[in-house]
Symmetry: none
Amino acid sequence: MKLLVADDDADLRDLISFTLTQAGYLVIKAADGPAALKRFEEEAPDLVVLDINMPGLSGFQVCEAIRRRSRVPVMMLTVRGEEEDLVRALGLGADDYLNKPFSPRTLLARIKALLRRAGIENNTPLSVGRVSIDLEEYTARIGTAAPVRLTKLELRLLQMLLANAGHAVNSDRLLQQVWGHRSGGDRQLLKQLVHRLRQKIEADPAAPTLLLTAAAGYKLVVE
Amino acid sequence: MKLLVADDDADLRDLISFTLTQAGYLVIKAADGPAALKRFEEEAPDLVVLDINMPGLSGFQVCEAIRRRSRVPVMMLTVRGEEEDLVRALGLGADDYLNKPFSPRTLLARIKALLRRAGIENNTPLSVGRVSIDLEEYTARIGTAAPVRLTKLELRLLQMLLANAGHAVNSDRLLQQVWGHRSGGDRQLLKQLVHRLRQKIEADPAAPTLLLTAAAGYKLVVE
DNA sequence: GCCGGCTGTAACCGCTTTGTTACCCGCAAC
DNA sequence: GTTGCGGGTAACAAAGCGGTTACAGCCGGC
């Protein structure tokens, strides 16, 4: 379970991160609004914790941007007494909020409740250049071709590559993201999965133009 | 939309009741735990607001009792700072809570959010396209065919799918919404229920046109 | 008691997905 | 050349999952 924590206060960020890590969650951190959005794209977390006051983009703006492409549960951190903030946050699609200061235990309880309620679900159409994927339908569409049905793993792989479109992604990182926590050695799985994915999305699977082999990994070319 | 409000403080009860009534909800009131349970049985409300401190039975006990027979959204009213209460309430199956004192606007926002989440929002359609259901009669009608009698579970499943008509609904989410508390493992139940529902609403149950299997779940096609 | 409907459980089938093993080829180092 | 390596490919085995049938427990009505 992957959580994104965005807060500009380093101490608080670390406290939250520590608490959640202890509880068994994988925590991604971001120190400001833009970074939060970037990590969100890269990591596709299952839940997002957003401070309202952040440099660059406010928590509101980040929440709005996230809501435009995903329904992941969002928890906002607010300052006590700022009721306007609260109402605005909920209006923007935030699922819950927490008044600062709060205790780690409370945070954990609320996050668990949110995850339980959300049933951890992800309905996000993602699209970069000529490649787009539909997480709900489990399909990918290349250019104007008909959507292709993908399996769970194929979709996850493509999602990872799409999140880093144009840049090579390390094999180890892909293994990590797609299978979870395999120890490094299992390149064969990745090899197979890439092969199967190419069969589905490449016009000529023997001469890939989309999903290219790069140094120590793969990359998606979207131009 | 029927809401049950249980609080022993008459002033607060009236304030809440006023707010919710203004917002267009039908409000049932109860002044103590036993009364709350009784009204719950009689009225079958769509959402319950429970104060924790009540004579007779505490909000915890009422919540527990309600949870034993229903999954209606429950919102608890707690005293700020009583973190124990909060954790306990969420553990008992409460869906949300509000710290006293709170503003009517906040209460309303949270209640709307809860109803939306539960899929029984104000405007939850009982009829979409060619599919309509009757919650009182326990029937479903497809197009111009004669209404079909459904069981409690079948109806709940269909209601969930109808609330998300056209979109796939995750199996876990369906399990959660239909049975309440089951953790992921019990796909067999869902499989069965879908099968039974198809027997009733599909013209040819072997080749479904309405209730389709989607990646990671099911969806209702209504055009 | 008996009966019938509802719900939960188990088992089976067939298909898809995923993991594993093996082999091929090109390339660079030796 | 030969060797080793890494990637691509094929074939097969294992696991998972949805659909289906069958059956047992439960409960309410008679």
